[in-house]
Amino acid sequence: MTANLSFGRILRFTLLSLGALIFLAPYIFMISTAGKAQSEIFSSSLSLIPEQWSYVENFTKALSRVSMPTLLMNGVIVCAMIFVVQIVVAIPCAYAMAKLKFRAARLMMVLVMLGLLVPIHATALPLYVAFDRLAVLNSYTALVAPFSISVFAIFLFLQFFRAIPDDLIHAARLDGMSETGIVARVVVPNAWPAITAFAIFSVVAHWNDLFWPLVVVTNQHYATPPLGLLYFRAAEAGDDYGALMAATLIITFPLVAAFLVAQKRFVEGITMTGLKG
């Protein structure tokens, strides 16, 4: 019985480790190849440690072709703007739907549920035409505006706010707070778990999104990280995998680092938003 058990444990551990190795393989090769010289890469050996360390060379190349700081900065600006606007718009709306009596609440619920069905890919064409007419393509506005409303955020906060006891809201009203005061000082502080979860969801989604930036941005100045990497690949054209891997390393690093630092929050956030969606 005990022998059997420990055999099972060894098997389980072996399977998990093997799988982990396969899942990590792209990262391992990325780091390894980013330090190899062109000639060594083409010798197609499986050795992971570069014979000659060419990290400096490859990273210099990666940084010189495309302005990495601009890309990362654009990523941060766009994600931050999207997140802030989404929160500012969604929280009051969700509060009104959850805790206030008004006739349109049911209709709003229907609209939110319908909105959940419609991804950016479906609305992209008319938005593109409209942005073109308004001459706002190639701008932060174009990158941010379509995501200013997140029905998912409304949906998530709505569920969260419904769980806040009515008595708490009533007590705040008796204490003389206005409704906006209640949102800012009672509801938001109690909704931090939902807000962090949504923050992680929103940032991961928009940091990684290629489709919409590809549609509205043709100017390197407004390129987000995924788009910038596409430009870099196009400029590189050939098979300079050393520099390419160095570039992917730089661009992947921020979010992966954030994930590794706060991995528990990340997993919780994605689980929470995932299950609610």
Binding site: F13, G19, A20, F23, A25, P26, F29, I41, S45, L46, V89, A90, P92, C93, A96, L100, K101, F102, A104, A105, G115, L117, V118, H121, A122, T123, A124, L125, P126, L127, Y128, V129, S148, I149, V151, E179, T180, N208, L210, P225, P226, L229, L230, D239, Y241, L244, T248, I251, T252, L255, V256, F259, L260, Q263, F266, V267, I270, T271, G274, L275
Partner: protein, 303 residues
């Protein structure tokens, strides 16, 4: 008279509350109309026109676009490829995710470590990691084929041959989505009451398999259904890897729905025609969600 007097303040208070509610919800309502409802309505409308960006006018052409879609070989190819990709990625990523979740759940020591490792692809920039995969898949210098050559197997030209390109993309898709499905399964597993397993043991479910069938699998049903829907939808939305690595090629062997829409609408600027495609795409999503609600209602709600 008296009754009117006593009712007035209540009605007034209700009106006040409704007014505040409207004010709080107004920005969301406006933006919802502007960026979701209106464009959705517009895309359906545009699907009946021959609108092309850059040309001034347009006219309504009825169902002409849809008629053209039926005969469009690229579009049919694209639908078929999307279906194949979904049929590969969804089941494999779900089964793998469930297996990994079960193994991790049973693991005592390195739980957090393994969870982090398998989740890592979800937090990584897909366009960047696709580039890494492109290197891994490289026919001559890629580690995968070097490894296969070491075993004496001639490796295929993964992303370069029309016979294998969808499989290559599927592998990336699976690698990328397993972690997400896994954490959902882990959450589902933790939510199963421990006493059910105890009851199953006492009731005579001796083997792990028995307990899995009696408790785990049925208790995970809502999670599994949800993971299935979300996986299918995400597979139908495959775009990043195709755009980055293959541009639909070779020979349209990796044309997928969103890529075709992107090409037609934003490269060739045939907005009307691309809108008709978008409507088809949207219809697929609606049907999937509808199916999920139906099954959810019927089968997996225990309350």
């Amino acid at each position: 008279m008296a009754s009117i007097v006593s009712e007035m303040p209540i009605a007034a208070a209700d009106r006040r509350e409704a007014r505040i509610a409207w004010l709080l919800a107004a920005p969301a309502i406006v933006l919802l109309f502007l960026f979701i409802l209106l464009p959705t309505f517009a895309v359906v409308l545009l699907g009946f026109t021959d609108f092309e960006l850059g040309y001034g006018g347009f006219r309504f052409v009825g169902l002409e676009n849809y008629a053209e879609l039926i005969g469009d070989r690229t579009f049919r190819r694209s639908l078929w490829n999307t279906a194949v990709y979904t049929a590969i990625v969804t089941p494999i990523s779900i089964v793998l995710a469930l297996a990994i979740a079960l193994l991790i759940e049973a693991e005592t020591r390195a739980k957090a470590f393994f969870r982090t490792v398998y989740f890592l692809p979800v937090a990584s920039l897909l366009v960047a990691m696709a580039t890494v995969w492109q290197f891994l898949f490289h026919p001559s210098i890629g580690p995968i084929n070097t490894f296969l050559a070491g075993l004496g197997i001639p490796g295929p030209n993964w992303l370069g041959a029309s016979g294998t390109v969808l499989y290559g993309l599927s592998i990336i898709g699976i690698w990328q989505s397993v972690g997400f499905n896994m954490v959902l399964f882990l959450a589902g597993l933790t939510a199963i009451p421990r006493e059910l397993y105890a009851a199953a043991e006492v009731d005579g479910a001796k083997s792990r398999l028995d307990r899995f069938r009696l408790v785990t699998w049925p208790m995970l049903a809502p999670t599994t259904l949800f993971v299935t829907t979300i996986s299918i939808i995400n597979s139908v939305k495959v775009f990043e890897t195709v755009k980055t690595l293959t541009e639909g090629g070779p020979n349209k062997a990796s044309e997928v729905l969103l890529f075709t829409i992107y090409q037609e609408g934003f490269v060739y600027l045939r907005v009307g025609y691309a809108s008709a495609m978008t409507v088809v795409f949207l219809a697929i999503l609606v049907v999937l969600m509808f199916l999920q609600y139906r099954v959810l209602d019927r089968k997996v709600h225990y309350a």
